[in-house]
Amino acid sequence: MSVAEKTPAPPERKRLNDGATRPHGPIVPSANVQGSALLAVIAIMSFLACLTLGGVSMVRATAASWQSQISREITIQIKPDDNFDMEKALNDARNLASSFVGVTGATIMDKQATSRLLEPWLGASLDIDELPVPRLVIVTIDESAPPDFAALRDALSKKIPQASLDDHRTWVNRLVSMARTTVAIGTGVLVLVFSAMVLTVIFATRGALSGNRHIVEVLHFVGAEASFVANEFQKHFLIISLKGSGAGSALAALFFMLASWWQSRSLATPASDQATALFGTFSVGWLGYVGIALTMILIAGLTTLTARLTVMRTIYEIDQIRSDPARSDGLNT
């Protein structure tokens, strides 16, 4: 009997109902060592990036609040003089200041408050009437439409020669420049962390893909188009990156929520006050959480794009070997 006679006839292409199979498994294996490592790297990097982003937005908010607080007030200082009615001068200064557009209020700092102000230097038992102590009028202004400081200064010096106006410009300028420096440093750190994250994610994705190169080759040789192969890997890496960046971003958001909760629970304690003085309030606001969500989307997009480009390049390399046999090292002949 010939070989051909022993062989069963080829199948008629009729439909069968038998032979249960599992649902199609993913072409790119869902779990492997490289995938787990990539997931961990993405989670860590997104956690760090979100932490930095939240930190910078916190510093920015704190700096803005310092600046706003100090520029919301100006001070009229009246020096004592012989034969001078200080109380009248204080009232005149307050009334004059209140008459200017852009001034929202003016308050005379009373004797007790002035004593408390000088207490660190002159002690608690200070009788303010015995000393020639300057007195202050605190003027609150509309930040968005401040009064004409030069005109106010002129009017004051004409009416009360002992009065001088301190618009805190020096302090405001210093704080503005400090705040800008702090925010610039924070932004620099943010850029560095994001750059490190981008590079880490790219290299980790490429590393994870190198372990799957044989899958790219097999798909390529069974006639898959480059876009099909790229889509399969893209889907796989999108899932990994969403899991990783979701976990990292959620942890960062949780950190800020817990820190904010701790701060609100421990108001006026030394630890909380110290933390507030150093970092401001831990609340990052809704914009901060939007930033965290955007970071997550950025990382997921970046990983997916890297996967796509790497697969396309792998296919291109396979085709390059085709065009340039010298590159096919180690091939059997």
């Binding site: 199979t21 498994g25 072409i27 085709d319 085709r322 046999p325 091939l331 002949t333």
Partner: protein
């Protein structure tokens, strides 16, 4: 269907692996490609499978000069060629069924349109009971048959097989050869690269013998 004319190939600045290769593979033909190890059989198969370009000469496949085919068209051309790799190239995380159906899956076909055909083909190659098994569990012969089934899945116009009986015992080799013969009767051209003379003696087919990069053909 396939025409080689004065084809030569060298890797880099090395010696020519293939020299002045000229032959035709007509549609529905059956031939063996043989020769000692290192003679260039795998390289010639790579040329036939469009995974290498010759350094000189003319290759026409399916009425197209392969030197002028753009990259984007290669997948469509490869779909007309089935290949059985010497090392099977099965994906270990996919079942036999999934591996065999891969060529149809990558073409974007819905599973319900080919499921019964795949199962039928698996039965035909004797793997009806192994459809849900992963390749690491399959024997060498079973892997070989799975690789053959995958190559046949989309009814290629030509089947290239690199040492398809290299990992199986003689009875299995005869059975595989029977599969190729049946396929050839259905109209598919077959080229089997082998150095198993016992296998070649079983079929009265054209022999293409490669030796030191040159090809001789014995009808």
């Amino acid at each position: 269907m396939i025409h080689f004319e004065n084809v030569g190939l060298r890797y880099g600045l090395g010696p020519e692996i293939l020299r002045d290769i000229t032959f035709d593979i007509p549609a529905s033909s059956f031939q063996f490609l043989t020769g000692p190890s290192g003679a260039g059989k795998t390289t010639l198969l790579k040329l036939l499978f469009l995974s290498l370009k010759p350094t000189r000469g003319l290759i026409r496949m399916f009425d197209r000069d392969i030197a002028s085919i753009p990259r984007e068209d290669l997948p469509m051309l490869r779909r007309r060629i089935g290949i059985v790799f010497q090392d099977f190239q099965l994906l270990d995380h996919l079942t036999t069924y999934e591996n065999v159906s891969l060529p149809l899956r990558v073409r974007g076909k819905e599973e319900h349109t080919y499921r019964s055909d795949v199962i039928e083909l698996l039965k035909w190659v004797g793997l009806g009971q192994r459809i849900n098994v992963l390749p690491p569990v399959l024997s060498g012969g079973e892997k070989q048959r799975a690789a053959i089934a995958r190559a046949l899945m989309d009814r290629p116009e030509i089947l290239l097989a690199d040492e398809p009986t290299g990992n199986v015992d003689p009875p299995m080799a005869r059975r595989l050869l029977g599969l190729f013969r049946e396929l050839n009767r259905q109209g598919t051209a077959v080229l089997i690269a082998t150095h198993d003379f016992a296998l070649m003696d079983q079929v009265d087919a054209r022999r293409m013998i490669l030796s030191e990069g040159r090809l001789e053909i014995f009808s």
